[in-house]
Symmetry: C2
Subunit: 376 residues, 2 copies
C-alpha cells in the first residue's frame, strides 16, 4: 500500500482513499489488505459490501458516499488543512515505517516540520510547575538544536512541550478530528502551531469528538513519529507509560525525567528508569543519545506489499471460512499459526480475516496477531 514513490495521489484516488478509510470496520490494517488485494481503493470500495457479508456481517456495510467524502474534503480545505497519504512526500517519514500507519492524515500547517529529526515529549496532564518548566526547557533546547518536537496537545506537559518549541517547529497530534481540539482551551495553541512552521495532524474524521479509546491511538502516532520519546512526570498506570511502552516496542529510545519517590507524579518516570529508560536531567542527555541516530541517513521504508500479492489463490469457500473461525477465539493468535494449522493458502486466510474484519468480528493486535471479538 503506497502512493507511487515520490508522487502524489490524484484527487480521484484521494477521494477513494478517504471513503475507504472512513468506512466502518476499515482500519489501517484492513485498508492495507484491501489495497493489496484489489490494487486500488476504488475497486476495494466496490467489493466491500460483499466481503463484509461473506465475513458474517449482520447488516450491510455503510460505505460513505462520494458526496460525504467530498464534504469532508471541503471542510478540510476551509479549515486550511489537507489529507496526506502514506507514501506521499509530506507524510511523516518514521510514521510511514511503523506497523499499520494511518493511510491518510489530516494535516494543517507546514509539512516541512516533518523533515526535522523528531523527538516526542509527553507527560502528566496534572503536571507540577517544575515539570512544566522542565518540559518547556527541554522542548526549547531540542528545538534550538534542530529537532522537531512532537506531542499530544494535552494539558500540562504536552502543552508545555508545544509552547517551548513553537518558534522552532512542533507537531501536535490530535485524538479527535482536526477541528476538534481537546482540551478546548488548546484551540489557540493549535492555530499558533500551524502558523509558526509547525503542524497539527489527525487520523480521525473532521467533526470527530475524541472518545477515551481514541487517546491510545493518538499516543501510538506520537510514539511512532519520533526517534525518541521523553516522559516528563507521569504517575504509575498513566497514559504516558502506554506511550513509552509503544515507543519501546517500536524500537524508539525512551527517556524519562526522574523525580522524588515521594512525588506521585514521578512514580511512572522512575519506573521507566528502573526498566532501562535513559535518565534525563538536561537536554544534553537527550542530544547525546539521539545524535548518532540523527546522523544516520534515514533507513529505507520497510518493504511494502504491492498488488497483486496473492495472484494465484482461488477465492475461499464456506468450509474454509468455518475452519478459520473455528481456529480463532478471544485469545490473540498469530496469523502464521492459523495458516499452518488450517493448511489453507495464505492468501485465502488473509481474505477470510479481512472479511471477518470488515464484518466487525475480528480484532487485530500488535505483531500480526488476531482474535475473534467476544459476542461472536
Amino acid at each position: 500500500m503506497n502512493a507511487p514513490a515520490g508522487s502524489r495521489l490524484s484527487d480521484r484516488q484521494r477521494l477513494a482513499w478517504l471513503r475507504l478509510i472512513r468506512t466502518p470496520n476499515v482500519g489501517p490494517a484492513s485498508f492495507r489488505d484491501l489495497i493489496n488485494r484489489f490494487g486500488s481503493a476504488e475497486t476495494a470500495l466496490e467489493m466491500l459490501p460483499e466481503l463484509a457479508l461473506s465475513g458474517g456481517a449482520s447488516r450491510i456495510l455503510r460505505v460513505p458516499s462520494r458526496a460525504e467524502a467530498e464534504a469532508e474534503m471541503e471542510t478540510a480545505a476551509k479549515a486550511g488543512a489537507r489529507f496526506v497519504a502514506v507514501g506521499e512526500p509530506d507524510y511523516p517519514p518514521l510514521l510511514r515505517r511503523m506497523e499499520h500507519p494511518p493511510p491518510l492524515l489530516a494535516v494543517k500547517g507546514d509539512g516541512a516540520v516533518f523533515r526535522l529529526p523528531p523527538v516526542a515529549i509527553v507527560g502528566a496532564r496534572n503536571a507540577s510547575l517544575a515539570g512544566i518548566r522542565m518540559a518547556q526547557t527541554l522542548a526549547a533546547e531540542l528545538g534550538a538544536a534542530g529537532y522537531g518536537v512532537v506531542s499530544g496537545l494535552a494539558r500540562g506537559i504536552d502543552t508545555a512541550a508545544h509552547r517551548g518549541s513553537l518558534a522552532t517547529g512542533t507537531v501536535g497530534v490530535l485524538a479527535g478530528g482536526l477541528d476538534q481540539p481537546y482540551p478546548p482551551e488548546n484551540a489557540g495553541l493549535c492555530e499558533d502551531i500551524a502558523e509558526n512552521g509547525g503542524a497539527i495532524i489527525s487520523e480521525m474524521p473532521f467533526g470527530w469528538q475524541p472518545r477515551a479509546q481514541d487517546f491510545p491511538r493518538r499516543n501510538r502516532i506520537v510514539a511512532g513519529m519520533a526517534t525518541g520519546l521523553v516522559v516528563v512526570e507521569a504517575a504509575k498506570r498513566s497514559g504516558s507509560l502506554i506511550s513509552a511502552r509503544l515507543a519501546g516496542e517500536m524500537g524508539r529510545l525512551v527517556f524519562a525525567v526522574p523525580g522524588s519517590p515521594l512525588d506521585p507524579r514521578a512514580g511512572g518516570t522512575n519506573g521507566l528508569l528502573k526498566d532501562g529508560a535513559i535518565l534525563v536531567t538536561e537536554t544534553a542527555d537527550i542530544l547525546t543519545a539521539l545524535a548518532p541516530l540523527s546522523a544516520l541517513p534515514p533507513a529505507p521504508p520497510a518493504p511494502l506489499e504491492e498488488p497483486p500479492s496473492f495472484p494465484v489463490a482461488p477465492p475461499p469457500g464456506e468450509d474454509d471460512r468455518a475452519r478459520v473461525v473455528e481456529m480463532l477465539g478471544p485469545v490473540p493468535v498469530a496469523v502464521d499459526d492459523v495458516i499452518s494449522h488450517t493448511g489453507l493458502h495464505p492468501a485465502q486466510v488473509f481474505m477470510i480475516l479481512l472479511e471477518l474484519d470488515l464484518a466487525g468480528r475480528l480484532e487485530r493486535h500488535a505483531g500480526g496477531n488476531v482474535s475473534l471479538l467476544s459476542g461472536d
Copy 2:
C-alpha cells in the same frame, strides 16, 4: 598483619599496637608493613626511630610512650569503649577485607551488630524533609529485614538513617575520636546507638577533634564496611559522591534515590544514576539487589602477609635509598614499577618506602601507588 585467627591480642600486644598506630606518620599501610617486617608491634616500636632517620626524617620520630597509650586505654574504658584489632572476631568483617583496614578500631556498643549483613545509607547534611523521611524509612525497613545500617553520624540524611534503624542495630562511624561526636548535637544519638544494640566506631585517637581531611577517611570506612551504599539526596561535588566512588572502587553496590532535576539536592544522586547506580524508590529495590549477596557465605578474607615476608634480602644501603628517591616525584607511581626500574630486591624497596613513609616524605595512594610529598 592479623591477630592469630580466631583469637585475640594479649593486653600487652594491644598496648603495643595502640602505641604503633598512634605514632606520627604511621598509617594503616605502614603499620601493616612494619608488622610484616618485624613480626610484632613491639619490635617495630624499637626500630621506628632508626627507620625514620634512614628515610631522611628531619627530627626524631615521637613514639607515644607506654604511659600515654595506657592513658588512652583508660579513657576508652571509662567511656565504655574498647579497641578491636583487625583479625579479631569483633572486627567488622567487610572492613577487614578492604585495602589497608584500620589496625585498631575504638568500638563502643555491641559488636554483634557487625555480624548483621551491612548496608550504608548516606547523604546530604542540608537534607530536605522528604529526603530525611526517605532515609528514615529505608533504614527502618532495611533494619526490619535483618540488615545493619551503617552511616557517618552527620547531620541530615546520616542522622535520619541512624534514627530509622536505632531499634534494629546501626553502626555510626566517627571522623574524630570516639569521645568527640560531630556535630555535637549528635552526642545523644551516639549514646542511643550504643545502648540499643548498635555501635559507634572510630579509628582516630580519643580526644581527636575531626579536621576536614578526616571526613574522607571516615567515608572510606563507611563505604568499606557495607555490601551496598545508598545515597539519599546529594548535591553535585558533595562528600556523599566521594563515598559512592569509594564504594564502587571497592566493589560495593551503589544505590541512589532519584529526584527532580530542578532540585540541587538531587544533582549528585541523578548523576550517580547516569553512571550506573541502582535506582531506589523503595526498600524492595535495595533488598532485591542485595539479597543474592547476603545469601552467599562470607568470602574468606584476602590473603594477609604474614611475617617474615622477605627474610633473605640484605638491608638497603644509602645508594639504594638515593636510587628509589630519584624514581619518585609528586606524581603517584606503582611500587612494582619502582622495583623493576631500580632492579632492587622488592624487600629493599618496601623497606625504603617504609622509611620514607615514617619520615613523613611519602604519600600512599589507592592501588599501591606512592608519591613523594611536595617540599621534599
